[in-house]
């Protein structure tokens, strides 16, 4: 049997991928080219007057202290979300893998939060921890802890990280469970016979063999933290207090859609695009080399 599927018809394969190409074209290449174009213009919100300003928008954006602040926030936020979401998911996956009775129920329940839209996930956490109405906020306050994410930037950051990570745990869990199932039981049993304890087995056999999954999830989680968490931040903190939870994506939105400075906003999305392309390239180029594909 040939490992490659071949089509006798020359046109059919193109037809089959055409819908995907159209979608990518309309929803990625076209808007991205618009962003590139707008990033060198200076325009009023209605597009009545526009002037070509070259790279002035980029210069201004990069010189802005708030942009550096957003960059730092994004770094802290993305690393924390990826780390928390992946480590908890791995722990849960290893636990769920051991359970024999009721396995399906546990798994279903752990996958559940993934079906929730980011904005709703944000609202759920907001309802629990908002100082004005949250039950947990009330409990924290009455236990003497000064809980006020509306004014304290560090607490607001913790809150959005928790909400964003919580939502992503399910997705990571799903992949880790699948990854765990792909590890041959014989290897683990052999190690057990050789006298390796549970922790030792995990770190020397399971964890290295999960590396492809972990690497894949690292890429996915970073992109998730960069882009898909907008709804959560928008619902929970709106980038505040001060600018403590304003990430790069949130700043693009805020400058473009609230402050209506389209040129700056477009310049920022172009920079963001470059950052993400670079990050993904680095991840594939260097991290992947160390990944053991079994």
């Amino acid at each position: 049997m040939s490992p490659r599927v071949t089509f006798p018809n020359k046109i059919l394969p193109y037809l089959l991928i055409a819908p995907q190409l159209v979608i990518v074209g309309i929803f990625f290449y076209w808007p991205a080219s618009q962003a590139l174009y707008q990033s060198v213009l200076r325009e009023d919100p209605f597009g009545l007057r526009s002037t070509f300003v070259g790279l002035a928008n980029f210069r201004r954006v990069l010189a802005e202290p708030n942009y550096i602040n957003a960059l730092q926030n994004t770094a802290v936020f993305s690393i924390a979300v990826a780390f928390v979401a992946m480590s908890i998911a791995l722990l849960l996956a290893v636990m769920a893998d051991k359970i024999i009775r009721g396995r399906g129920i546990y798994r279903t329940m752990l996958i559940w939060p993934y079906a929730i839209a980011p904005a709703i996930a944000g609202m759920v956490w907001l309802f629990m921890f908002n100082p004005a109405m949250g039950t947990f906020a009330y409990m924290l306050r009455s236990s003497g802890y000064q809980w006020d994410p509306l004014l304290r930037g560090d607490q607001a950051m913790v809150l959005v990280i928790a909400a964003a990570a919580w939502k992503q745990i399910s997705y990571n869990f799903l992949f880790f469970v699948a990854g765990l199932q792909a590890i041959p039981k014989t290897l683990i049993e052999a190690a057990a016979i050789d006298g390796a304890g549970e922790t030792k087995r995990f770190w020397t056999i399971i964890f290295p063999l999960l590396a492809p999954t972990t690497f894949f999830l690292l890429v996915i989680n970073t992109t998730y933290a960069f882009f898909d968490t907008f709804g959560i931040i928008h619902a929970v903190t709106g980038g505040g207090p001060g600018k403590a939870t304003e990430t790069l994506v949130y700043k693009v939105y805020n400058d473009g859609f609230v402050n209506l400075i389209l040129g700056d906003s477009a310049a920022q999305s172009v920079i963001l695009m470059v950052i993400v392309i670079a990050l993904t390239a680095i991840q594939f180029r260097y991290v992947e080399k160390k990944v053991h594909y079994g």
Binding site: F27, V252, V258
Partner: protein
């Protein structure tokens, strides 16, 4: 990239919507941002108008929050698919005014409908806010509100305060708040929604202080902020001091603090009169008072400035459609309609006749306090400081102010530092926005 895709999606949605609009009846698209009870009012008004005649059909479309609606309108305009009428919130006024050529002044639209537009029929404070310096009314005031003081009578009684006479000045309010906190009648004495709109823009007008140069932006766009001196600093330092032990509690940048009042955590609230609906619904034993002022301010209390939203008409449509818009605005101006809007929502009536009719009906006698937002706004002829605040990028300037306030309330800086930073950053943002 994300936002670009979003804009494209919006434009695509609108194309789908507008293709179904070619019928014998002229359709008028009305984009708005009203939710809950206020959304029902929008639906009812459109329905009533459509049933009252057969030439035009107003189609209300909910477009999200105020900023979202404005952005949807702008995106649609750029795609040559603008609606006829769009509801724009007060701070978006400067943005719309700067877009000459994109909007059609309401005064012009109304005269196209055959009717004569008579400015004197409308409340002067509101008309002035939505007019060009030369007096041309640019947008149609739909829902206008004014900030007032709400207080919880049960908590006042527990703290041994006068339940019938709320404090009138800020020093009195602070005293009352401290007493409430110390007596344990409530966990927080005072809170406020919209620190920017109430604490700066209305604070300036009500205490007859200058917010910015160029008559607060009404006389020109090249504005320098003046909010880092005198009573502004005193006021915010007072709030920052009270925030240390929770006597004043911050709720958020917009109307979140209302929740703190409704839940009984905070005893005194300054908030828009438009928030009355929720207070009524909560069944709280509440009282209303005037917005507090500082007795040392010369001429205080002066007058407050309107908040809320107005209806703007986009340019580039057919004459027949503008006639329909004019007919709809005339319908909205009718005394019965305005009277009803005012009484169910807490928003102000926009015509004098509706105000007089409400007064004559005895509504204010039965509902004490409901006249306060109007008398506050109309009590005195406005000065250069109290006609309103208009900046081409007021939403952005408010964001900057809020950020500095949050750092101040978190104890990271004093009121003087916060306001100095707000002025410096705000002025830079204004200069960028006007293209310097």
């Amino acid at each position: 990239m994300k936002t670009q895709g979003f804009a494209a999606g919006l434009a695509a949605t609108f194309t789908v919507l507008s293709t179904s609009a070619a019928f014998a009846v002229t359709e008028i698209q009305w984009w708005h941002a009203m939710t809950g009870a206020n959304n029902e009012v929008v639906e009812t008004l459109s329905k009533e108008f459509n049933e009252s005649q057969s030439d035009y059909k107003v189609v209300p479309v909910f477009k999200g929050t105020y900023p979202e609606t404005l952005n949807a309108g702008i995106a649609a305009f750029r795609a040559n698919q603008s609606p006829h009428i769009i509801q724009v919130f007060d701070v978006g006024t400067g943005v719309m005014m700067a877009a000459e050529g994109a909007v059609k002044p309401v005064a012009e639209v109304l005269s196209m409908g055959g009717g004569e537009f008579n400015k004197d029929e409308y409340l002067p404070g509101i008309v002035a806010y939505y007019s060009k310096p030369d007096g041309t009314m640019l947008s149609f005031p739909y829902n206008s509100s004014s900030p007032i003081l709400y207080y919880n009578k049960d908590i006042f009684e527990k703290a041994g305060l006068d339940t019938e006479n709320p404090p009138k000045t800020w020093p009195e309010v602070f005293e009352a708040a401290k007493k409430i906190k110390e007596s344990g009648a409530a966990s927080c004495g005072l809170t406020s929604t919209w620190l920017t709109w109430i604490g700066l823009e209305n604070f300036a007008a009500w205490n007859n202080l200058q917010y910015g140069t160029q008559e607060n932006g009404l006389a020109g766009t090249d504005v320098e902020l003046k909010i880092n001196e005198g009573l502004f600093v005193t006021h915010f330092q007072n709030l920052a001091d009270l925030a240390k032990d929770d006597t004043f509690r911050y709720g958020g940048r917009t109307s979140e603090a209302k929740q703190l009042f409704l839940s009984g955590e905070c005893a005194i609230l300054t908030e828009s009169s438009g928030g009355l609906g929720d207070v009524l619904k909560s069944g709280l034993n509440y009282g209303l008072g005037q917005l507090p002022y500082y007795p040392e301010a010369e001429g205080a209390p002066q007058n407050t400035i309107p908040g809320g939203a107005s209806l703007w008409v986009f340019g580039g449509h057919e004459d027949a459609e503008y006639e329909g818009v004019a007919a709809f605005f005339n319908f909205l101006s009718q005394t019965e309609i305005q009277e009803r809007l005012h009484q169910v929502s807490g928003y102000l009536p926009v015509t004098l006749a509706a105000y007089e009719a409400t007064k004559a009906s005895g509504f204010y006698d039965e509902n004490p306090g409901r006249e306060i937002p109007i008398t506050q706004m109309m009590g005195k002829a406005p000065t250069e400081n109290s006609r309103g605040v208009r900046l081409v990028n007021l939403p952005q300037v408010r964001d900057i102010e809020n950020e500095e306030f949050e750092k101040m309330l978190a104890g990271e800086q004093t009121a003087q530092q916060a306001l100095d930073n707000a002025v410096e950053r705000g002025n830079a943002a204004i200069q960028q926005a006007i293209g310097n």
